[in-house]
Symmetry: C2
Subunit: 334 residues, 2 copies
């Protein structure tokens, strides 16, 4: 039924070892024999069994990717970056959604490790001790992608979320805004949540603006929650003149909530956010936002992982990619 390396060897009149060599591009084969083998392969329709190869060589050329949610455009973009580079280095990826649930994350990490992936890319919520524990039992490299661990002991690639948020809010302050509301992500989320909130606070503080709790609403990253949060702000006696959203999608919700109320963006209220997803320029007015290089985060982390897997030494295992403020149409001086 299935044709094996042994069949090819017999057909070509050589040994298994030789077939293995040509299949693996080992130069130590006479061109003639190589040709014979290729012909036999062709004739028999031989297809190498990667599982057997993996068992024998202890390499699967497969990496595990745990991601919060592939249907979230931000992560999908990162995933594309990962896959492109993986592909370039002849790796395949096993993708697992874990929705930032610790339990699910630990579970998939383990099944990925059982599958003998050569490396692991972890994109998730908080990196807890349990995670670190699970990573330790792996004897393959791990890199955190779009997150970091507290202790800074695990290789990672991410942007500086706190600074990105700071820059966004600061852009508002530079335009004269002082009543600046924030639509935050959940504070349990270290990157998109907590760090961005901290950046907001620091920017206010530096400008001598008192932090006002009633100017902060926590959303769930979705469009609707942006709308809800904004509606709340709109009903305040002192409506803010600007709002900073932790993510684009909620920002778009905010823009629409403002517009639906009859007010104008940015004339009445300015809106700014962090992400620069493709949607940012698919709204009117186009959204001003601090760009986070999603694709690159994926690509760079996969590249880093390949180096780790090849045991090449890397200078800095903690890479922080630059963010950049993109000024479009949703912000104007107060």
């Amino acid at each position: 039924m299935t044709v094996t390396i042994y069949d090819v060897a017999r057909e070509a009149g050589v040994s298994m070892a030789t077939v293995s060599r040509v299949v693996n591009n080992n130069p130590n084969v006479k061109p003639q024999t190589r040709k014979k083998v290729f012909e036999a392969i062709e004739r028999l329709g031989y297809r190498p069994n990667a599982v057997a190869r993996g068992l024998a060589s202890k390499k699967t050329t497969t990496v595990g990717v745990v991601i919060p949610d592939i249907s979230n455009s931000i992560f999908a973009e990162v995933a594309r970056g990962i896959e492109d580079i993986a592909n370039m280095y002849h790796y395949n990826i096993i993708l697992c959604n874990a929705d930032k649930k610790k339990e699910k994350e630990i579970r998939v990490i383990n099944t990925l490790l059982e599958k003998q992936v050569d490396g692991l890319l972890f994109m998730g919520g908080a990196v807890t001790d349990e995670h670190v524990q699970a990573f330790k039992t792996a004897n393959v490299p791990i890199v955190l992608c779009a997150t970091t661990d507290e202790q800074g002991t695990i290789p990672s690639v991410d942007i500086d979320h706190e600074a990105a948020a700071f820059d966004a809010v600061n852009a508002l302050i530079q335009k004269g805004h002082r009543a600046i509301a924030m639509i935050s992500g959940t504070l349990q989320d270290p990157a998109n949540g907590y760090a961005r909130f901290q950046g907001y606070k620091r920017a206010l503080e530096q400008a001598g603006i008192a932090y006002d709790e009633s100017l902060v609403r926590v959303g769930n990253y979705r469009y609707e929650s942006g709308i809800e949060a904004m509606k709340y702000f709109l009903e305040l006696k002192d409506t803010p003149t600007a709002v900073f959203s932790a993510t684009d999608e909620m920002a778009i919700g905010a823009i629409h909530a403002i517009q639906d109320s009859g007010a104008k963006v940015p004339d009445d209220i300015s809106v700014i956010s962090v992400d620069n997803s493709r949607m940012a320029s698919m709204v009117r007015p186009q959204l001003s936002t601090v760009a986070q290089p999603m694709y690159d985060i994926g690509a760079v982390s996969m590249r880093l992982l390949t180096k780790l897997m090849k045991k090449e030494n890397v200078d800095d295992p903690k890479v922080v990619l630059p963010h950049e403020y993109i000024s479009r149409q949703s912000v104007q001086p107060v």
Copy 2:
């Protein structure tokens, strides 16, 4: 270094076979011995090697997924449906982007097959003879996801793209529109391209409206191409009163192009499309569109694949999921 089933057997004072039985939940093990084995596993931190298991059992509990582009929200949604169901049945997925390029598709199909996936989900451009050829050499089940083959010989799950487009255009016609433009996808693409274009033509024909070539522009599915196409229509001496876009994203581009020109949607021009991606309700006015159940297409196709892999018999290997017109705010009577 790595602890194997043999180590566990020795530690527990039983044979490898017994360990294998408890790991695989084989009931023929005395509770006592089962307990002993579990303890040994715990103590040693044993983790089954899925590669070895795969080689011995000829099952990898892994399925291959070839997808055009995971960063496209439509496909990302499908992928989420796939992964959720895969997960439910304890399968993992290897994801490969192939950008609807035939060559790349064939290549990844082959590497997926080399990796001994238990089944394959194919989401791509046209299904050519070469594809069918590649599928034949696989001795695992394949299901087409969000596409179909001409001959209808391969299991698949999709919507009726032609009918969906027809319904959309017909909704316009029912509102009295006659000058209806179309922003199409590339005609080489059987599903989103050709079929939807055919639906457009059939709707016109049935209403006795002459087909006008100048009212059709081919886009590349992206927002910008929707803008471009619409700009073209806007400059026609007889501007259409409605436009049908093959996809949401181009439709949103069209809406913005109209708005940027100073006209209003739907007052001056109505816009309708097919997809109902999340973005459809994230525009003002909200987009009226024929919904295509992306998540379900993924889920159902994965479910079908599990049946095929278990050699259960399926009544109908060609499933066509229903589509549905969602009326929002972008269409109004002429």
